[in-house]
């Protein structure tokens, strides 16, 4: 028996019918240490073959979709469960999974906040099981790798927060910018809104249609601010404005912050060096010395590409941070967390090169 076979992990995916879910499935089907044992999705998908929902799966995967109604029965066959669900559902099922000794990576928002008051402020929900919440780890491997390695429950970061926090963390941790001045202007592809249908995702409404939305009340503003606060060691209120772009995949977060006066002479080369140092153990963060990152450069990959600039007249640092919202912003990061939890090499199954052009 080889080392690889020893490490084979059985997983189930809840929420396989969504874009994050099917992206997860695609990665896991090619992961050498994983066997996908079952899929769950919404009631309307029950009994349907995944290739009926996603024709690209024809000839590749013919699992059928079950629902959470059968969780008890299905739990026994897996070691680890991924949940890719709207917020507020996972909290009703995760405690049972944890108690059954399973590992859990939750791609939703339910386990991203340790502070219940903050969670309640943004999601208007109470956690039924505080003990389970208490052991959740925020699944940002670039910031919390050691905690993740020991965890059994991961709150996988949101897509906007992933791009924003990776862009801002070195500045905040090193106290280079005035945290009261932070602005994140984020641009997202339409897939961030999910596969559900509504006028906002209608092709004809988005094509040639750039617009801001959820200004000052997007829940990811809460997540970015909360995580920024943890890094700063004090509360931070980030100004966060998300925009819909006429594209399918990708997030471009442009982050702005005023240099604190003692740091007003910092040079761009020093900043780049500092970022490279900060991310030296992060295989998926690429810090640019020249050029600006484009969402295409990371399409289909788990990379976060970052470039920096300083406006010396206004003393403003500009950070450009791009990810694929469905990979590093969701499914890829979830697999990265799984790799850490399960003791696999961090990059296993995640070595895709961007599909370019």
């Amino acid at each position: 028996m080889t080392n690889d076979q020893l490490k084979m992990t059985n997983v189930g995916i809840v929420g396989a019918g969504g874009y994050a879910g099917v992206t997860l499935l695609s990665i896991l089907l090619r992961h050498p240490n994983v066997k996908v044992v079952w899929l769950m999705s919404e009631e309307a998908h029950k009994g349907k073959n995944i290739s009926a929902l996603y024709p690209q799966m024809r000839g590749i995967c013919d699992l059928t979709c079950d629902t959470l109604d059968n969780l008890d029965k299905q739990l026994v066959s897996v070691d680890l469960i991924f949940l890719a669900l709207p917020h507020g559902i996972a909290i009703n099922y995760v405690p049972k999974m944890i108690k059954a000794g399973k590992k859990v990576v939750d791609l939703g928002a339910d386990y991203r906040f340790h502070d219940e008051a903050v969670f309640k402020k943004w999601y208007n929900l109470d956690h039924p099981d505080k003990a389970v919440l208490a052991e959740a780890v925020f699944g940002s491997p670039e910031l919390y790798k050691e905690q993740i390695r020991k965890a059994r429950l991961i709150g996988n970061p949101g897509c906007y927060p992933t791009a924003s926090i990776l862009g801002l963390a070195p500045l905040i941790k090193n106290k280079l910018i005035d945290t009261g001045s932070i602005v994140v202007d984020a641009k997202s592809g339409v897939s961030g809104a999910g596969r559900g249908v509504n006028l906002k995702v209608h092709y004809c409404e988005r094509n040639e249609g750039v617009m801001a939305y959820a200004v000052n009340n997007h829940r990811h503003m809460g997540e970015v601010s909360y995580q920024a606060g943890l890094l700063a060691g004090q509360p931070v209120n980030v100004t966060f404005v998300p925009h819909l772009m006429p594209m399918t995949r990708g997030i471009h977060a442009t982050c702005y912050g005023k240099l604190i006066s003692e740091k007003s002479k910092v040079k761009i080369e020093e900043l780049v060096k500092l970022y490279k140092e900060f991310y030296k153990e992060a295989p998926f963060v690429r810090v640019y010395e020249t050029g600006e990152p484009c969402t295409k450069n990371v399409a289909g990959t788990n990379y976060c590409d970052i470039a920096l600039s300083i406006n010396s007249e206004s003393q403003t640092v500009i950070v450009m941070s791009v990810i694929d919202n469905l990979v590093k912003g969701a499914a890829g990061q979830a697999v990265q967390n799984m790799n850490l939890i399960c003791g696999f090499e961090e990059t296993t199954g995640l070595k895709a090169i961007a599909l370019y052009p």
Copy 2:
């Protein structure tokens, strides 16, 4: 002889082969008080019918393109000239036009700055004729309508500055925000880069490809800062980051500024009211009471749609300002200026409704 015939103006277009030029032609061909007498474009277009360059013109316009080499000969037949050229060319021809008694609307950058040092800083050029420069008026009718009415030379604003300054002017003029804190995060359709070919405008590079460019050195940063400074009555350094979007037309400028402390209690309703008051004589500015503006809402029109929001925790005002970069950001605004110069109704020829979807 009717009133309309009396007012008929003969115009020539220099730079008709570009996107701004052909947009101008399209508007002017339907303008009741204008006759387009000739077109000029680059050497390679000489002698070509405009419909060979732009097949949508078949059966509509069959003017052929001349070049600036024949300006002397062509000057006599027109009352007013539009120039839609890269910077640095117009300064060599406009003085002669003005001296010949012609009116001029320059869509390029050459006559947007009265301060030669600022112009030189951003464009590295000297003006050969200071007297002509001195009489140029910055063609923003919402800010300088009376001066425009009396002018004979207009420096038509750039596309990014149009969206940015219209978004910021009421805040700056009313001293509501700290001008040192202004950030403009601007998103543009690809047509802003013109019809010339290069890798940046290749379909396959832009589709799914959002990226910042010219960070901290885009010339429109100079124009926005200069105009903001005029409004503020003191120098202003705006942090300005332009981004390329995968779309053809439209600019979405998201503007951020910190409320000055005395104004920290200002309510959103008051701000909206102040904007409406500021733009009460501006037929092409629409201030939203609810909702966010989308680039589609103004496609093909001369409107600038503006919405506002306040992040009370960070004391930041957010202004969303959208235009069609080729219309309000170029050709439409040029016609609006022509209407004012020539004594026509300001909106003549500019009543198009957005092509939606």
Copy 3:
């Protein structure tokens, strides 16, 4: 009182909430001989301002939407009614309108077929009032202008049939091709599917997603075949395959037909001449002598642009025919029909130049 005022026509639009409806509204608001008196839409839109549904209408039109429930009350105030509805609804209301002495242009399918059996085959519906059906005229001004001038009820052609029939008519009428060999491969923008939401029109499903649909059972195959048969003087079965393109507006119909053997020596120049002759009274058909038509060339206009080619080895004529599906394929053609019915100049209100790029 001027001639224009004499001719002012009051109209109502049923189905104003859809893409064809709002396109119609946009054209009519700028039509010099028309006053739009009321709008009707679906129940969910009742009482809503049109600018709440379509923000581009802010400051331009503030009519609110009524529903067909109030038709009796609203009928008196108009001279002519446009209906832009899914098939099967108009037949329940049009007879009453006609009996009340109103003119009607129906953009739906209900009055496009005189042969009830054919209509029933494709739509599975019976006409409640055969007399009204009998007086309907198929609203293709290029083919039936004189009948339209005398009509009071128009069945406005479908979008695909408009592009296809205009492309094929000269070949069929002149018996140049074997009608048994006709293939129409049609490519449409997503707006042809309407504003209703479903997975097919989700941005993420259509972007980068070209596919055929409704192969061999699209209702427009029935309409194309029926109209081709009328032109041929005998039944025709066109092979028709529609495809969805990742774009908003436009149809490109590529039509193929084998030359009948006696015509095997026909030259392309002769064909072009024949087309130009055939459409010499058609202000909106542009026959190209060189080059291929692009959907962009007609975007936002009422033009149908046509180019021709002959594959001499396979004896196949290829016709490329492009329209804007919402203008010439729906609202524009409807206004063209209204102009003819009401005695206005055929092109009134329809002189837009393509929004390019």
Copy 4:
């Protein structure tokens, strides 16, 4: 030493700066049996790191580009060479490679035709070395797998021909359709035109811009006809019309052919069965029993997805065949051919699942 190491093959890529070249590089960098030893591209790229041309390669590959001038020196280090060049260049270098004992997969057109007269008709070129031409095999593994296995020089099929011929082969080989009636209406993403810049690939010209091009004179018409003729055992003239779509990747070939009269009763189920049988040894052809294939279903993969329909009234078979033009239509198929030549499993390195959405 393991089996895998034994099989490690050293390869060079000529034309790495193009879209097909970089796609090839991406696949080969993840291929377990291949080492990419060097890259060559055009003069302007000489000495540049591949990640300077393609930023997605940062941190993944840092090979620099050489040019064909150094072929002699570089030849010794590789076992197999891929060429991804415009036609007419490879013929000057391939004979030397073959004589040096190297295997060659040419992605260009130079070795796709055994009949020199046909090659000359379409490309106006003579082959300098007929012996080398004589041993080339047309690299369509679904049709010529055994010959490929024994070959050392492959003429990799063009993108349009791949989709078209795979769609038509079972019909032609089984003499089901009249080969004189074949029409292929092909729709391609813009990447098929390569990375070179010109107005046709300008974002603003293609977005919302569907058009036919090279009607009746596209070189791939020659390739499709030639290959169809080989399958039919007699000359075939296919009517072939390519169209540019506003998308980056993918080809949708819609193929039409009249059933010969003896086959007029064939049922769709029989056709589907026949296709499945025909492609039973083809791991990358997926024949659909229901539904239509979408270009998205194969994006980034080596699949060719095929669906069928019969118009019984016109006795026409319709075949919808989709591929990713850069993978199955170029680089993926080239790797598939390499796998066969080198004795690797046919699907090695080609198991990607479509990036969806």
